[in-house]
């Protein structure tokens, strides 16, 4: 049976399907992890509340989509609403992130880095519980409203698209597209804009950057806001995905794989994060296939993702693209 499954796995159409599935997962992981890695590179803060920001983005996005898509059925109109929602969610979650940085994290820069983990961990508890209160108060969950959020995607994304011998989910392709755009946009921001240059300088040596007359604290706030905003947009994308959807556990379900991605890639490295996202996405997709077809162990994909983390840290403690000691953390 195992050999049969292996033969089936090696068929080109299976491989291609798994590959596309893996890319779409990679796109999601990359989007969530990018914010995490940007914040770590510059501020040295490993943000435990990042998953909560994604979850908030998913709820906000789902809410916007349900309210504004309403009766419109046209695929194009829904796409337009989606992109408007992207902007709104980005703005809202980014301003939340900015507030958090100014109000809380700024207090801790002169303390050992462990305190930032503690603070963001507590913050995650508070945010999760606040969302829970709001959600239960308005009776939003588990009411069908969030099923409606799944239903607000354009009709052409609902059915599988057959390309020759393989069937592809258009939603996966859309996720890959959005993920690629996000990665490209962050890359352009970091390497082609003046502000990105300041960010890179700040992550190399923030004291020297400050000595050059740049207001590093404002840069910190902006980068934290951008990172949070990207996490929010990733959440919005997840609200459309039947595998994830807007839910309270989303905060942990996205935080842990995102941690794996940033650590495997090397904390605070852009290239490493993207490569690791693809790696983790592929492992996830492959193991999901094996679980569905040959191995009955339910936790297989999740377990393999964490094994990737453990093995990477054993073999290469600084991660794939990390330098030995990133900013003394």
């Amino acid at each position: 049976m195992f050999v049969d499954a292996f033969g089936q796995f090696l068929r080109p159409e299976t491989l291609l399907n798994v590959f596309i599935d893996g890319l779409s997962k990679a796109a999601i992981y990359a989007m969530i992890a990018l914010g995490l890695t940007l914040v770590f590179a510059l501020l040295g803060v490993l943000n435990f509340a990042h998953g909560s920001l994604t979850m908030i983005g998913a709820y906000l996005g789902g809410l916007l989509m349900v309210v504004f898509v309403g009766g419109t059925t046209g695929g194009l109109q829904r796409l337009v609403v989606f992109f408007v929602a992207v902007v709104v969610v980005f703005a809202l979650v980014a301003s939340l992130g900015g507030l958090v940085e100014v109000g809380l994290i700024r207090e801790l820069y002169d303390r050992p880095p462990i305190y930032q983990i503690l603070l963001t961990f507590g913050l995650a508890l508070v945010l999760d519980e606040l969302v829970r209160i709001v959600v239960t108060f308005y009776g939003l969950q588990p009411v069908a409203d969030w099923q409606d959020a799944l239903g607000t995607k354009p009709a052409f994304m609902a059915d599988a698209l057959s390309l020759g011998p393989i069937a592809v989910s258009p939603l996966s392709l859309f996720q890959i597209l959005i993920g690629a755009i996000t990665v490209a946009a962050v890359w352009v921001f970091l390497t082609r804009t003046r502000y990105g240059m300041i960010v890179r300088a700040g992550s190399e040596d923030d004291e020297m950057t400050a000595a050059l007359g740049i207001d590093v604290h404002r840069v910190f706030t902006v980068v934290f806001a951008i990172g949070s905003g990207i996490a929010g947009v990733a959440g919005l994308l997840l609200a459309w995905d039947p595998v994830w959807g807007a839910s309270l556990p989303l905060a942990h379900e996205t935080l842990l794989p995102a941690f794996v991605v940033v650590i495997v890639g090397g904390l605070g490295t852009f290239r490493g994060t993207v490569v690791a996202a693809v790696l983790v996405g592929m492992v996830d997709a492959t193991m999901t296939w094996w679980f569905q077809n040959a191995i009955t162990f339910t936790g297989l994909p999740e377990m393999m993702i964490f094994l990737v983390l453990v093995v990477t840290l054993i073999v290469r403690p600084q991660g794939l693209f990390g330098v030995a000691e990133v900013g003394d953390h």
Binding site: L46, L104, E107, L108, R111, P113, I114, Y115, I117, L118, L119, F121, G122, L123, A124, L125, V126, D128, E129, L130, R132, I133, T136, F137, H252, L256, F259, V260, I263, L267, F297, T298, G299, L300, E302, M303, F306, L307, L309, V310, L313, I314, P317, Q318, H329
Partner: protein, 388 residues
């Protein structure tokens, strides 16, 4: 004490504020886990975000032994033996995990231990051998263990007393009559006390001084001639041992275990909350932190039996206040229901954030700084000074 206060004129207020005996048992075993977490985090400075792996090992080991699922250990194995073996097993796991993890430090150490514990968590959640439905965890059936688990000296029946949430012994000696839960309270408390003194002894030994030296400056410790790696590993193993005992007590009292309340990373998070609120780097602090945590949770719980804010307000606020409108059709009663009904995590999270920001030494640590030394030594002097 509790009974005396509860039947006094301020009984309603006392029931609202004070923790129940059941809660205190939970404070004890989880406090022990938080102490073992603090043993490694507070004294060597390594944040082990996967400490739940040891707690879970202890809990699952005890339940598996009680169900007769482990080779060589029949269902009738004395509880004390099984928690000690669980501790040894956890120490072995700690050596294995630690020998890999201690090559890293800081954030990386936290992450690799988190990785290990999540692997264990996912594994135990999918391992069909544990129970029919591993996702919901395993329970000890009353068929294999009718009366609870004995704490005491194996073989000497007179010294054994059984613990358990719904089962267990009750004792009546002369004037004193204790029900099952109160017996559990004293017996679990006894084990925790013994473990506390053992850890306390270790911390005040030369070994403990090396741990502190590692926390303060690892390179210098090495330069003085100690090999930090070995000391860290040993401390980790000891910490794992006591964490597993805490897990064993938890499973023994509850008679069941689930992946979510033993192996999940938020269990470690709860220990972290207790350590920070109680004061990390003070061994007893986490116990007080946990007491605080559980008290707030109980205070805000919706069930009336243990007292708490919600039933108190419902009983004592006049109906006119309950029905007055605060904002946009929201009555006071509804607002109380919404914001106080079991949302303890919110308030504990807020308290935690405030502690991290403004009281980084925690309750006990701050008091120690104020009194300039351990409380037990200093407080009597201060009290003497107040005497006329």
């Amino acid at each position: 004490m509790y009974a005396a206060l509860a039947s006094s004129p301020i009984g309603a207020e006392a029931r609202t504020l004070l923790p129940k005996v059941e809660t205190m048992v939970a404070v004890f075993y989880f406090g022990l886990f938080a102490m073992s977490f603090d043993f490694i985090f507070g004294y060597t400075g390594y944040l082990s975000f996967g400490h739940a792996i040891f707690y879970g090992t202890g809990a699952y080991f005890v339940v598996l032994v009680a169900n007769g699922k482990l080779p060589l250990l029949p269902a009738g194995t004395p509880f004390v033996v099984s928690i000690l073996l669980a501790g040894v097993l956890a120490a072995v796991i700690a050596v294995l995990v630690g020998s890999v993890s201690f090559r890293l430090s800081g954030v990386y150490f936290a992450m690799i231990t988190l990785g290990f514990s999540q692997v264990a968590y996912v594994f135990i959640r999918g391992w069909g051998y544990v129970s029919e439905n591993p996702r919901d965890g395993a329970a000890v059936s009353t068929a294999t263990h009718p009366s609870g688990f004995d704490i005491g000296i194996p073989g000497v029946d007179a010294l054994n007393l059984a613990i358990g949430q719904l089962t267990g012994d009750s004792v009546a000696v002369g004037m004193v009559a204790l029900n099952g839960t109160e017996v559990s309270y004293y017996m679990v408390g006894l084990v925790v006390l013994v473990c506390y003194f053992a850890m306390q002894r270790l911390i005040h030994s030369p070994f403990g001084k090396v741990m502190l030296a590692i926390r303060e400056n690892e390179e210098r410790t090495e330069a003085v001639g100690y090999e930090p790696f070995r000391f860290k590993l040993a401390a980790f193993a000891i910490s794992g041992f006591f964490a597993a005992i805490a897990g064993g007590l938890f499973a023994g009292f509850r008679r069941s275990v689930a992946p979510e309340n033993s192996m999940y990373f938020l269990v470690t998070g709860d220990a972290l909350l207790s350590s920070i609120i109680g004061g990390f780097g003070t061994l007893a602090g986490p116990l007080y932190g946990r007491l605080f945590d559980e008290t707030v949770r109980e205070f805000l719980s919706k069930s009336g039996a243990g007292g708490g804010l919600l039933p108190y307000l419902r009983d004592h606020l006049p109906a006119s206040v309950m029905e007055s409108v605060v904002y946009n059709g929201l009555t006071v009663g509804e607002a109380i229901n919404t914001f106080l009904n079991g949302h303890a995590s919110l308030y504990i999270g807020l308290v935690f954030v405030l502690f991290v920001l403004y009281v980084p030494a925690g309750l006990l640590g701050t008091l120690r700084a104020r009194f300039d030394g351990p409380l037990a030594k200093r407080v009597p002097d201060y009290l003497d000074r107040l005497r006329p």
